[in-house]
């Protein structure tokens, strides 16, 4: 049973353009994703974060069409419906230092309009899944950076989202935590669309079923990690691992166009 047929979750982006003042962050971006774990790679400033923000309905597109779960985001009820089924963790996120981890996750469970009676159990489960049950009642300011990030991941998954957007989620996690986190991603990818934006190429090979490489607001590669590795072999890229070579080869080819 392949992932793409199990669940209908759908992210559809066509010709997306996002401009701020004079910079064009995304220039005619296309994307079509179903369930599974999808990697988003690219250099800084390539437009990955902007894409994540648009998908998280946090930023408005300048032009183009975005449809999540077969809904346009143009009217308020659709927007709210989509947001209830979303999970988002931006690259830089603030938190309230006085809050305990449990209260932090609970706060977002409420904001996501989860049914009242289910909130305590869902919060407990989310904290369990990121492996922080024993620190759940410590204040966030007492926790290390990696733990705060895991708390952020917990709030993103508390409502069992159909679309999970994670921007650089492994920053600050040690290798053991990263392995555990990838396991969580794979588990969620069974029946949800998980998009992970990262510049850590190893994250991609280990957990993602497909990769999209972004450069200067455009897609320059779309395929599986083995495809990217193959591109490295034929394109003569530089790097210490096969996938790094694929990454640099594709980027170089894109810049020469």
């Amino acid at each position: 049973m392949t992932a793409s047929t199990l669940v209908e979750t759908h992210v559809e982006v066509s010709d997306l353009v996002v401009r701020f003042r004079r910079t064009t962050a995304l220039d005619g971006f296309d994307l079509d994703l179903g369930p599974g774990v999808h990697g988003l790679l690219g250099p800084n400033g390539a437009g990955k974060t902007t894409l994540m923000r648009v998908l998280a309905t946090v930023a408005k597109p300048t032009a183009g069409h975005v449809s999540l779960f077969d809904r346009d985001l143009t009217d308020y009820p659709s927007l709210r419906h989509v947001r209830r089924r979303l999970g988002y963790l931006p690259q830089h996120f603030g938190y309230y230092p006085r809050f305990t981890m449990r209260e932090f996750v609970e706060y977002f469970a409420w904001l996501k309009e989860m049914p009242a009676a289910s909130v305590p159990l869902a919060v407990e489960r989310a904290i369990e899944r990121v492996g922080l049950s024993d620190r759940a009642d410590d204040r966030l300011r007492r926790l290390s950076g990696g733990m705060v990030r895991r708390a952020g991941i917990a709030q993103a998954i508390v409502n069992d989202p159909d679309l999970l957007l994670l921007d650089e989620p492994t920053a600050g996690l040690d290798p053991e935590q990263r392995v555990r986190f990838r396991g969580l991603l794979r588990e969620m990818g069974v029946d949800a669309c998980v998009i992970v934006s990262t510049h850590l190429v190893e994250d991609v090979t280990a957990a993602c079923t497909d990769v999209t490489l972004v450069n200067e607001g455009n897609v320059v590669f779309r395929g599986t990690p083995p495809d990217l590795i193959a591109a490295g072999e034929s394109g003569g890229g530089e790097g210490d691992t096969p996938i790094e070579r694929g990454y640099t080869a594709v980027l170089r080819a894109a810049r020469q166009r």
């Binding site: 930023a59 996120f93 209260e103 904001l111 759940a136 952020g152």
Partner: protein, 275 residues
């Protein structure tokens, strides 16, 4: 309960020899019936499932750590959590409001003897909720704003909850300060209430167009000009007179209409920085 599961059914169910339709009703019944749960418990003791139950118990006991501080999920809890994240729940905010209003009240009381033309309290009190709103949802000042913006409740609804919480704090304190300011009471204790509300609403309305921090600055600045300007020419500020009240009311109602019409603008953030 008018019926329970017979012993024979229990045995068949527990040994896996019951068809779907019958097992359906057994399972539906078992969820809520203690005597039948006990009967199943007895029957299970003689089957393979007993080992499963035992094994799971041992594994569970090994991992029983501390319990968390879990609270029940109710609408009241929701309100509490949403309010606790905003500035209204911070001690520093409360202390600073009290201080500011106390100082204004003291000055008014002293100024009474100097027949000062305007009450400092009436000028200052309406600005405090405006400041509170700016702190609530200002860009960069709500640290988790980017995640909040991706939630269904994180836009106007959260803003309104926090605004209400800010007003709920500033209004009683200002009222108390007004009473303390003494015989200027006819001028101070409620002259500021209507401007308070109207300025807050104006901040929200303008905030839908220019961002809340700028709107707060604009509204606050406008208020100060409206009050201090006439003072320079030795007149009493018209804004503080009873004649101004209908105009203020009209402004307030317009502001509400603007907020309602432009409510979708509160739902996304605008990013002026790097992509």
């Amino acid at each position: 309960m008018t019926w329970h599961i017979s012993d024979q059914l229990v045995r068949r169910y527990v040994s896996g020899r019951l068809g779907d339709a019958d097992a359906w009703s057994v399972e539906a019944h078992l969820v809520a019936c203690a005597p039948c749960q006990a009967a199943v418990g007895e029957a299970v003791a003689n089957t393979d499932n007993a080992a499963v139950v035992e094994h799971a118990w041992n594994a569970t006991v090994d991992q029983l750590g501390s319990q968390g501080r879990v609270r029940t999920g109710t609408a009241g809890r929701r309100l509490l959590v949403l309010v606790a994240s905003g500035p209204a729940a911070r001690l520093a905010w409360l202390v600073s409001i009290v201080l500011v209003l106390a100082v204004a009240a003291v000055i008014d009381r002293m100024g009474m003897r100097l027949s000062q033309p305007v009450s400092l309290l009436a000028v200052v009190a309406p600005l405090l909720p405006v400041l509170g709103v700016a702190l609530s949802y200002g860009s960069g000042l709500d640290q988790a704003r980017e995640i909040i913006a991706s939630t269904p409740d994180g836009g106007l609804r959260l803003l309104l909850v926090r605004t209400a919480a800010v007003l709920a704090v500033t209004t009683p304190v200002a009222f108390a300060a007004g009473l303390f300011a003494g015989s200027l009471a006819s001028r101070t204790s409620v002259t500021w209430l209507l401007p308070s509300l109207v300025l807050t609403l104006l901040t929200l309305a303008l905030g839908s167009a220019m961002g809340l921090v700028r709107a707060a600055a604009a509204v606050g600045g406008g208020w100060l000009v409206a009050v201090i300007g006439p003072l320079l020419t030795r007149d009493a500020p018209p804004v503080l007179t009873p004649d101004a009240r209908p105009i203020l009311l009209l402004l307030g109602v317009t502001a509400v209409a603007v907020v309602v019409v432009r409510r979708q603008s509160f739902e996304t953030l605008s990013f002026r920085l790097e992509p």
